[in-house]
Each structure stands twice: as structure tokens, then as C-alpha cells.
């Protein structure tokens, strides 16, 4: 009989848990209330695990330099980008974006970029935060 898990388990009892307690060590009574308090600076958030450089996060759109060539629309696999004909600029729906970064590579004016922001959840998929341009 051999139970190699037992020494491993007993050893782990003395070590720290592997979980990163993000955003708070204990579940706050209300999440929205807690996030509000964090926003107002009344509570501190336990930081998430740091992301590596060049992680593909939320899109950043520099509307000023966009020339409306619609190359990005052509390569977007998720069809998350649409052209607004009146302004000749694009509009990006972040809730639909799959963060592949193909558009950032194809853009001739470098007006599309990926940031390292990944906390993009929202209750409204068309909120101002999630529709760029």
C-alpha cells in the first residue's frame, strides 16, 4: 500500500495557499458596494496576478489618426468592428472582441492597440467603456 498524496497534503498544511485572494481576501457583503468603495478610495483591492509584457488586453483606439481604410474590418474574425460611414471612422465593440490582435497588426496608421487591461466586465455590453469610437 502506498499513498504518496498524504505527505504532500500534510506538507501543504504548513504552506501558504496557492490562491491569489483577488479582489478581496474574504467575500465582501456586496461586490458592487465593495467596488464602489475601491473606486472612492475607501477600500483597497488585493492586486491580481501581474500580467506578462505583451499580453493582449482591451483594445485602445486612437480615433484621430484613423483613416477609415477598413482593413481591420476585413481581418477581424469576430466581426467586432464596424465602419461608421458618416465619419469614415470605425467603431469597436469590445464585448465581441476576442483579443487576437490581428487588427493592430494590419492597421496602416497604428491607431489600434492592445493594452494590458483585462478587467473589462460590465453589465451592459454597449456601455461607453465597451464601445470604442
Amino acid at each position: 500500500m502506498s499513498f504518496p498524496m498524504i505527505p504532500e497534503l500534510l506538507g501543504q498544511l504548513l504552506k501558504k495557499p496557492a490562491t491569489n485572494p483577488f479582489p478581496a481576501p474574504q467575500l465582501p457583503p456586496t461586490i458592487t458596494g465593495y467596488l464602489k468603495a475601491v473606486g472612492e478610495g475607501k477600500a483597497t483591492m488585493n492586486p491580481p496576478v501581474p500580467v506578462p509584457p505583451n499580453m493582449r488586453g482591451k483594445m485602445v483606439y486612437n480615433r484621430g489618426t484613423c483613416i477609415g481604410c477598413s482593413l481591420c474590418i476585413k481581418v477581424c474574425p469576430a466581426r467586432a468592428i464596424e465602419l461608421v460611414p458618416q465619419t469614415k471612422k470605425v467603431r469597436i465593440f469590445v464585448s465581441q472582441c476576442i483579443n487576437c490582435g490581428q487588427c493592430t497588426e494590419v492597421c496602416p496608421k497604428n491607431c489600434l492597440n492592445l493594452s494590458d487591461e483585462f478587467l473589462i466586465a460590465d453589465t451592459d455590453r454597449y456601455s461607453d467603456k465597451l464601445v470604442l469610437g
Binding site: 476585413k74 474574425p77 476576442i98 483579443n99
Partner: protein
Amino acid sequence: MKTLEIKKTAPYTTQIGPAHPALKEPVMFTFELEGERIRKADFAPGKAHRGIEWMGLRRNCVQIVYLAERICGICGITHSLSFCRAIEQVAQIQVSNRAHYIRTIVGELERIHSHLLWAGVAAHELGFDSAFYLAWRVRENVMDLLEYLTGNRVHYAIIQIGGVRRDITPDMVPKIEESLKFFEGVYGKLASIFLDDTTIQMRCRDCGVLTPEEALKLCPVGPTARASGVRKDVRVDHPYAAYADLELQPVTPDQLTGEIRGDVYDRIIVRLLEVKQSIGIIRQCLAQMPDGPILAVPKMALLLAQLKKAEGEAVGRHEAPRGEVMHYVRMGKQESPVAWKVKASSYSNYMSWVPMLEGEQVADIPIIVASIDPCISCTDRVTIVGDQGAQVWTKEELHRLSVEKTRQLQLG
């Protein structure tokens, strides 16, 4: 198709699925039971059909690469690589050697991550949650490494038609090396927990046996076939990417125990040994990696134009963690492919469930079903809506239908 009738007298038939804790994805099993013993087993896939091929035929090839990546939630390289290999053959795009090596490294990292994920799921099916947490904790490390190399944890978006999108620069190598050391260190612990534990041996030895004869007859692929002693590995049999330059042999359980039984335990052995093998392959790749460009056609507009002119058909294959994946693509001088057929590895492995399950106990259903590492959503290419007028297609009828379909494709 149901071939087993639901009866209210012994021997009882009972259904497991489509939604059941034993199944991580929807598939429906019908069992004829005699007490705890399974007399007959039958299954009906098609509960997670997503129409991916249909979506692909409405997109251009650059878009399909990312769509293909999302066929499977675990292996992000598998489908995009197979698809790209098919397209590259059709459009005659030459991939640089460096890109081949990077594809190999990321592919092998993905194998480590997928096998660790499987080990965790298998442990959970056995009720051994601590091993599940341990395996997945180790897996976090490889996912962090993949995120570091490619930018994403799961859908890496690194494969592109004609090469890869991100290079492995010399300053990234120490971090890869560090991770490989970590895996080598933790490998012994994992192997001891999964192979030496008495309860795992009791549950997995001589359970869900697939004999070599049945394995040859039913044509499973990947670890399922290799655990039954069928030395079948696309990386060795039809080398692609950088595999032709590397030292590797198909992994079979007799390399560790000296015998082949073809049971669940052998499948654990094969997957664990493959984790070790993958570490070795990555080491070899890092040592031999040549210099050169990483993308054959860096300008996307140019690539799209070139693909629009391409005509012909090709098959792209890749040894995924679960076995061979095959993509058939036919291009006809238009933006989107004329035909795109995906054969996920689990499609070949499904049929081996039946001989594995019959004669075993109810308690073994979860681990046997999990032992082929089924990827059910990847496999579902067809679904039947409503049961009215359902009919069983015979082999002849199916053959006639496929001939018709091929003719249709050839005529365009």
C-alpha cells in the same frame, strides 16, 4: 440515434447525460445494466453542435485561423495549425524554419498543459480531488509560460498562415528554461501520485481495456491508440513542422512497465510519459532553432490577395494532445474556402468507448469516458433536431451520400 430501448423491466436501461457530473461536455450515453454491471453501451453525440464550418465558409482564411483556434477550448494550436498547414499547401506558401520550430515549441507546451488538465479531470472523476488541484496548480505554470510567449493563456493567436506571429527572442529563453526545470522537478511527484497510489491502481488497472486487436480495428488515435500498443503518432509517421529534425519515438506504456494492457492505467502512463517527452522536445528545439523570418508573407493585405487567387484542395494534419487532427480545405479563387472539413481527434476515439465500457461497472463510467480525453464540442459536426422521422443510415447509404458530396465539391 438510439438503438437501446428504454425499458422498465430487467435488464434495466439507464441514461447518463447529456448533462451529468461525469461528463464535462454534453454527450448522451444509454446503458443496459445488470445490477452494477454494464451489458451494453451506446452513445449519441451531437449535443454541442456549433456550426463552426458553416461560419468558416463565410469568412476569409485569415479570419478562419482564429475561428479554428476556437473549435477547441483546450488546444489552441491544434486546429489553427492544421488549418494553416492545409492552406499553406493550397496557396504554396513556404514556411520558414524558424517558424516551424516556434510552432513546435508552442505545440509541445500545449501538450503539457492539455495532459496535465486531463490528469486533473481524471483524478476528479475518480473522486481524488487533491490530485486534481495539484495537477491544475502545476498547469498554471505552463499557462503562464504560454501567456508570456504568445500573449494569451488559452487561445494563443500565435499561428498565422505562413508562419507565426510572435518570435521567441533570446531574452525569453531563460524563462522557458526555468519553467522546463520546474516541470522536471515536479514531474517525479506527479508521476508518483498518479502511478504509485494504491487506490488509483485499484480503480484503473484492468479497467476499460482496449485490446491491440480492437485498437487496430476501431482506429483510435493519439494516447488512446498508443496505450493499446499501436505505435501511431503523426509527429513520427508523417513529420511536419520541426519534428523531422528531432529525436522522438511514439510513447507506449511498455516503456515504463514492460507490458501493454491497454487499460485506463496505461493511458495515464502514456500521457505522463508524453509530458516528459514534450519537455525533451522543447529542449531540442531551443538548442537547434535556426535564425530567419517568422512570417512568409508579413503584409496581411498581400496574403489575402494571394489566398484569393489560390485554387485546389489539401489536408492539414497535426498530432494534437488527443491524437491526430485533420483539416480538409478546398479553395476556389474566392475569399472563403469552398469546403472546410474538420476532423477532431475525439471523432476517431469515440468508437473505442463501446468495447471499453461493456462488461465494466457503473462506477467506472466516468473514468473510462474520460480516459480517451474526449473533446465533445470539437467533434460535433452534425446534430439531429427533433426525433420525428429519425432514421438509421446504413453504411451503403452513407457511402453514397459522401460520393455525392465529393462530386458536388469537385464540380464547384
